[in-house]
Symmetry: C2
Subunit: 294 residues, 2 copies
């Protein structure tokens, strides 16, 4: 198989598989963590397919951070869904990174877009990777028991919260539900997003708008009347400068998304996995409903 | 106060406090993480004191590891107990460590004993620290709402599992209950324990026996008929060489502890926080019963 299994770790009632594979999207080897819940091991091949949840991590993260600290596993067992933890960028020899060496662009900070600018366009095709190649690669090995295409939801944190919102809106009939933890909701107008978009996509803001959730809510119709669930903490150090969650609520006014973007501002929570893990149970229940598990 | 509050982090329904204080036991500054559950913030000063659980971490850990990865917080909120995460050794300038620089002795590896050997006896007094000074220091600040003396249980992982067993047995009327994750149950007979005991306590095996759980079960009477709860995984790389959990069951034969030490060998689990977090819910329920919360 294209997927190489590097480790199988017992967690809760299921297994966390550490996988890697050569990616045609990024031209690099990509690591994936995949949590298969207890239902995977208890169900027959012919049973109903197990739904999946795609979790996109934030700046600097690898597949390990959320696997270790977000505690999706106990929720995945509770409801019966698999959780996919991809990497946040291509890595390895020949992969360009931020010339200034900062942590908010380049390696660990792929922003889930397809780069058009040199030198990043050679490897930074994270949009194609997470939404197209990743489910194909996983389905080749696990598709007989897990649904990576038709019954899948998406979530993420910070940069990955942007990636979840953007990927959901750009593929409106693809994901059953979308949620985000402390997302960058309007990258075109905040420093993290502007740096990434300029670096990966160039100066043409029409291309930026194709990825920006606060632009997409104006052009994409909420055909099913779905709600998007967002949590962010008042003690998040990035709240005022990079996250600004009200911007997507403002953008949604007068569109089919008005009143459908539930932004919960939580007193005292920060940007860390302490925050994420505290709200994972609510997000798990939200997705479980949309995945037909409740 | 002697305690300095360096950070307050919202987690689940409570707060994780990062604290530090000058310790008279170790002669160093010691860090502590303290999780105060939602009941702490919802209860009046005059309400019943909130019980506490002392969690002793394993080799190389600081107070952060278990705070981030063991996920006690949601359980603490469920039942209503505080969780104390002390450090695993003294640290800082002038603190001697392993002359070979290895990770299983010295800094991060204090083994929860009072060292008698030079140069370690100057600072490595972790037994006095965790069982005597720590509750005093915490009670000075939080004692009006949290019980650190009379309604407290103890648990730990690996070296900290040894520390929990040893501390529980040496203070048989002190802790309401004891559990351990992958503990070193008979340090006097395994390499990790022998290295630590020789380094901290010298060659006299009578002193080793004063700390060794598999010796203590022979001399300490199980006055209340209490059970000790232990989990260990079959894929734990240290199982055969350092942990050998059957040794404490063997030692307990013919004593008041016979049949009271429940060793659960769990298929496929390793030594990591993936293992710990998977069984924290069972240990939390066990302690909650003994703390009068169920």
């Amino acid at each position: 198989m294209a997927l190489k299994l590097t480790s199988t770790i017992a967690v809760c009632g299921g297994k966390l598989l550490k996988l890697s594979h050569p990616s045609s999207s990024t031209g690099t080897n990509m690591d994936i963590n995949l949590y298969l819940p207890k239902q995977y091991y208890n169900s027959a091949e012919s049973a109903k397919l197990i739904p999946s949840l795609l979790y996109l991590s934030g700046l600097t993260c690898s597949p390990q951070n959320a696997s270790e600290k977000a505690f999706w596993q106990i929720q995945a067992d509770k409801y019966g869904f698999a959780v996919i933890f991809p990497d946040t960028s291509p890595r390895g020899e020949g992969v360009a990174t931020d010339p200034e060496g900062s942590w908010d662009f380049g390696i660990g900070a792929g922003f889930y877009v397809n780069a058009t600018e040199q030198p990043y366009s050679a490897h930074y095709n994270m949009y194609d990777y997470v939404h197209k190649e990743l489910p194909q690669v996983l389905a080749e090995e696990f598709g007989s028991k897990v649904d990576f295409f038709d019954n899948i939801s998406i979530t993420g944190h910070s940069m990955g919260g942007f990636g979840a919102l953007s990927g959901y809106l750009k593929n409106i009939n693809r994901y059953k539900s979308c949620s985000a933890f402390a997302p960058i909701v309007n990258p075109s107008t905040v420093p993290w997003g502007q740096k990434a978009f300029k670096g990966y996509l160039g100066e043409d803001k029409r291309i930026w708008a194709e990825y920006d959730p606060s632009d997409l809510v104006k052009t994409v119709t909420n055909v099913n009347g779905d709600k998007i669930l967002i949590h962010v903490g008042t003690s998040d150090p990035f709240l005022e400068k990079h996250l600004k969650p009200h911007l997507i609520e403002d953008a949604a006014k007068g569109t089919s998304w008005e009143g459908k973007i539930e932004v919960n501002i939580e007193d005292g929570f920060d940007h860390s996995y302490y925050f994420i893990s505290s709200f994972v149970p609510q997000h798990a229940e939200f997705h479980a409903k949309h995945l037909g598990l409740i």
